[in-house]
């Protein structure tokens, strides 16, 4: 049985997947309301261009590839339909393009000016788009979906004229010729290193729009089947385009024709420029394109967890051992949510009186009173009771509220107690308890992993991959027999993921070191809030600042780079960083870092740490962190001289 087992979450990079695999693993985000900005029909029908923004591993490439014609044609085969029927049903045909960054960067340097490279790159881009149009038509022709007659009488001659080729009868020699021209460019790129020379092909150099729009228009004109269809250019990883290259494509966005539209995938802050080639004008969101964010962490309507569960199910089903055993529900492997009460009981079992003894020493409350609020069966409730005492609530009242709540009585006291314990403080209490016992909080359960992934599907998959790897290592037989993964294995996976992601920050271009220092410090500030023994500001893990207003451009660019790389994530709407504070942009640190700093992974309202420009600068610098500079005036650290939970610690 174990021979057919493999880690269900290893491998599978969307850009590398073959068509069948894309279809196998596809989960429509529209089914789960992941996007509020667009609906499925907009992919082919929306008249404006669409820019899809999200960090690495958010699923952009998978999304774009799905709508491309090879996948849709394969889908047609599987559904026993004709490709043209699928295209007509979609009301459009998609063409996926991804130019890898080594190629993009090779159109630069060697003391040749930007104009030279811009002309060459445009020619390359036009040929790349043009050849794919023809390849799609060839495929439809091979499937007898379009007639040869239409091709020879109308389309091919016009394409030859456009390309300034000698007249051809069939598509194939035209495709071959375009391929030859592209390889001529490849040869030039290789040779220019050693022989600085002009680009002199034996044919025309194609300017912008000539083929990308030119051939598209010819298709629409010459083929009845395409007359009412949209031609969608699905352009991936736009952030890798150099500035002048983006200027060229930006101009295409501005001057798109009816029935020819772009769907562009890129990182957040992936635009290097909004300028266009050949004009002083620039493109603007809302006018030239609509923006759709892939990693919106604050969308209320989305069924993001269900989306993740579905993705996981497809992965699990692909492993025969698991499929046959019926282990295809990731929630069963991970458990649905944390069992904080059990976690707390396990934490305190060797020293159940620690919290009680510490309060006895330092709170000034008598032993008799403290004993009234003990709850040996639930350390979290016991801790909450101690905190109520510190806030001035009497022991009798606390005890009564606790009893009302535990007995399920519908009293006002019970309602208040429930509000505090269940709705507000349970997770915070767990963090505080871990702090008191000097043990790390465990990070486990489907719910927790959903949060930790921060809207990035790839992060969720990585958490699962490591969890399965740990479980297999610990006891493969148990994993395959029981279909569960222990809290310890999940926690270890979360911690390792967190550390790995933190290490990657230093790889961010230009600002890696700066952002790394910032995250380290802000994480520790959040940690200090979590260790507040009065829980005045529970689960603080967000900060407020105005990036656009920063005077120091380096700071601004660093923050933008942090957003681009999903190290920090902006909340959709403005919030107040505290009662009485003005509305500001709120940023969360990517939740994947939570295990590293032992902080909450949830998105809460309430307190955010407000950061002005000077504070941001300090946090990004080498200067030592002074936490009290970032905590409220009523001071979470004020009460104890040493700043620790209890002075004796």
């Amino acid at each position: 049985m174990s021979d057919s087992y493999r880690n269900p979450f290893s491998g599978v990079n969307a850009v590398q997947l073959k068509e069948d695999a894309i279809l196998d693993y596809w989960c429509s985000p529209f089914t789960y309301n992941i996007f509020s900005e667009i609906k499925q029909s907009d992919i082919y029908r929306e008249e404006n261009n669409i820019v899809l923004m999200g960090g690495r591993s958010t699923g952009k490439s998978m999304f774009l590839r799905y709508w491309s014609y090879p996948i849709q044609f394969r889908r047609a085969e599987k559904e026993r339909k004709k490709p043209l029927d699928i295209i007509k049903g979609n009301e459009g045909i998609g063409f996926y393009f991804r130019i890898d960054s080594p190629i993009l960067k090779s159109f630069d340097g060697y003391d040749l000016n930007t104009e030279h490279w811009a002309s060459l790159f445009t020619h390359y881009f036009e040929l790349t788009v043009g050849i794919q149009y023809l390849e799609a038509l060839k495929r439809l022709q091979d499937d007898a979906e379009i007639s040869e007659q239409a091709e020879t009488s109308c389309f091919v001659p016009k394409v030859c004229e456009l390309l300034r080729l000698s007249p051809q009868q069939r598509l194939e020699p035209v495709i071959t010729e375009l391929d030859r021209r592209l390889r001529f460019i490849d040869t030039y790129r290789g040779d220019v290193t050693f022989h600085k020379k002009a680009f002199e092909p034996d044919g025309p150099v194609f300017p912008s729009e000539s083929l990308s729009f030119g051939i598209a228009n010819l298709i629409i004109q010459c083929f009845d089947s395409f007359r009412d269809l949209n031609i969608i250019i699905l352009l991936d990883e736009y952030e890798n385009f150099l500035t002048y290259q983006q200027m060229m494509v930006n101009a295409l966005l501005r001057f798109t024709k009816p029935q020819i539209k772009f769907r562009i995938g890129m990182r957040l802050e992936g635009f290097r420029t909004y300028n266009m080639m050949g004009t002083e004008d620039f493109i603007k969101e809302g006018r030239e394109y609509r923006k759709v964010v892939f990693e919106d962490i604050s969308s209320q309507n989305s069924d993001y967890p269900k989306f993740l569960a579905e993705i996981a199910k497809k992965r699990l089903e692909h492993v025969r051992t698991l499929r046959e055993a019926g282990f295809v529900d990731i929630k069963k492997f991970l458990s649905v949510r944390e069992d904080l009460e059990q976690e707390a009981r396990d934490l305190v079992k060797n020293d159940p009186n620690r919290v009680f003894n510490q309060f006895l020493k330092s709170s000034g409350v008598s032993k008799k009173e403290l004993e009234k609020v003990r709850c040996l069966d639930n350390p979290l409730i016991e801790l909450l009771n101690m905190i109520w005492l510190m806030r001035g609530v009497s022991a009798d009242e606390t005890q009564q509220a606790m009893r009302d709540f535990l007995d399920g009585r519908k009293t006002k006291r019970a309602k208040k107690y429930r509000l505090d314990y269940v709705d507000k403080y349970k997770l915070s209490l767990m963090f505080l308890l871990c702090s008191i016992y000097r043990k790390e909080k465990q990070y486990y359960s489907f719910n927790t992993f959903s949060f930790l992934s921060s809207g990035i599907v790839g992060q969720f998959i990585e958490l699962c991959r490591r969890s399965f790897a740990n479980a297999e290592w610990r006891d493969r037989d148990a994993l395959l027999e029981n279909g569960t993964i222990s809290r310890e294995d999940q926690t270890r996976a979360a911690r390792d993921c967190s550390v790995a992601e933190k290490q990657q920050i230093s790889r961010i271009e230009d600002y890696g070191g700066t952002i790394s220092r910032f995250i380290e410090k802000i994480g520790n500030i959040f940690r200090a809030f979590h260790a507040d023994h009065k829980l005045r500001y529970p689960e603080v893990n967000q900060f407020a600042t105005n990036i656009e207003a920063l005077n120091d451009k380096n700071l601004q660019y660093a923050m933008q780079a942090a957003i681009k790389w999903s190290v920090i994530q902006k909340k959709r709407t403005m919030h107040r960083s505290g009662p009485g504070e003005p509305l500001q942009d709120i940023y969360a640190v990517n939740r994947i870092f939570s295990p590293s700093f032992q902080i909450s992974y949830r998105t809460r309202g309430g307190k955010s740490v407000a950061l002005n420009e000077k504070q941001l600068e300090d946090l990004m610098s080498d200067k030592a962190l002074v936490i009290s500079n970032y905590t409220p005036k009523d001071g979470i650290l004020k009460d104890s001289a040493s700043g620790k939970l209890f002075p004796e610690q």
Binding site: N13, S101, P102, K105, L182, G190, D191, T193
Partner: protein, 315 residues
């Protein structure tokens, strides 16, 4: 390939000996054995990367070459990120196919010696060279075990090594062959950027030290654990074995249906990279990609172990 004995006879009868400066003790191991006095006729061309030289005092080991008895030395200032910045300085020399040329690749960055070898062939008609390489005695690992290993810091920029763009047919399937190194970040970035349909990794095995073959695999664990990835082996100090393996992959690809665009990422040892370089020189349709870091770490290996010389036919 032959082992070069530290106690052996001096290396003589060279017209040119080309090397890169470095603070690693391997930098001048071979240079110290070259007969380069006034009567020898050997010209030394020493590449000085500005990024390495900057802010170093004159007693830094990087300048130890100044203590050797060298009659004719040309120091070439260049930028580590831009191999063609050395072009004009090299053009002043009279390289041709009759000259005996040797290159010590020990402290060159890989893009540089890739560029250099192709330049010698393309611009100067050089048909063969001797390449020298000195192995490090040990690599520095934190806490004595291999948890993470980084040869560079800062962002990575994946580039085509200048001159090695290859030729991609539009309908060709992409195949990426990665020569594994110790820095796991690099292979992952390249695999994501190139996004091939198939990835093969070549592990340097046997390696300089028995345990290294595990280190390169666990450093690249995320990539290697993908069940679709194939693992092949070639000796870490043997460029010709890498060459033969790449040739076998090319032959396999030719026999398969459809075209294949082969990409090679030489992340492993320099001798392995040399094999990849030779293969790409003989097969210009092959692309060589490489992750150029912002900053190379100054020293992550130390001391000298065996030295080797490889006779390379550039055509």
């Amino acid at each position: 390939m032959e082992r070069v004995s530290a106690d052996g006879p001096p290396i003589s009868n060279l017209d040119y000996f080309i090397l890169s400066s470095g603070s690693d003790s391997r930098a001048y191991q071979i240079l110290s054995q070259i007969q380069a006095g006034p009567t020898s006729g050997t010209k030394i061309i020493l590449f000085n990367y500005r990024e390495r030289v900057a802010n170093r005092s004159s007693d830094n080991p990087l300048f130890n070459y100044r203590n050797l008895a060298i009659a004719d030395i040309q120091e070439v200032d260049c930028d580590i990120k831009n191999p063609s910045s050395s072009l004009s300085a090299l053009e002043a020399n009279t390289f041709d196919e009759t000259k005996a040329i040797a290159v010590d690749i020990s402290c060159f960055t890989k893009p540089y010696f890739f560029f250099l070898l192709k330049l010698l062939r393309e611009r100067f008609g050089v048909l063969k060279i001797d390449a020298y390489y000195t192995e490090p005695q040990f690599y520095s690992f934190e806490k004595g075990v291999f948890t993470a290993f980084h040869t560079s810091s800062g962002p990575l920029s994946i580039i085509e090594i200048p001159g090695y763009s290859g030729q991609e047919r539009r309908d060709a399937a992409r195949k990426l062959i990665i020569l594994l190194g110790f820095d796991g970040d690099l292979s992952r970035e390249i695999n994501e950027d190139v996004s091939p349909g198939e990835t093969v990794v070549i592990n340097g095995f046997p390696a300089y030290s028995p345990k290294f073959k595990d280190i390169s695999l666990i450093a690249n664990e995320k990539l290697v654990s993908d069940h679709n990835i194939r693992v092949a082996y070639a000796r870490a100090n043997h460029p010709f074995e890498v060459y033969n393996l790449l040739a076998a992959f090319k032959k396999e690809a030719s026999a398969a249906e459809g075209d294949t665009f082969i990409n090679v990422a030489p992340l492993g040892t320099k001798p392995m990279a040399l094999g990849a370089c030779l293969f790409a020189l003989h097969n210009p349709e092959v692309r060589v990609v490489y992750p150029l870091p912002e900053t190379y770490k100054d020293k992550y290996s130390d001391a000298c172990w065996s030295s080797w010389v490889y006779e390379l036919p550039l055509a």
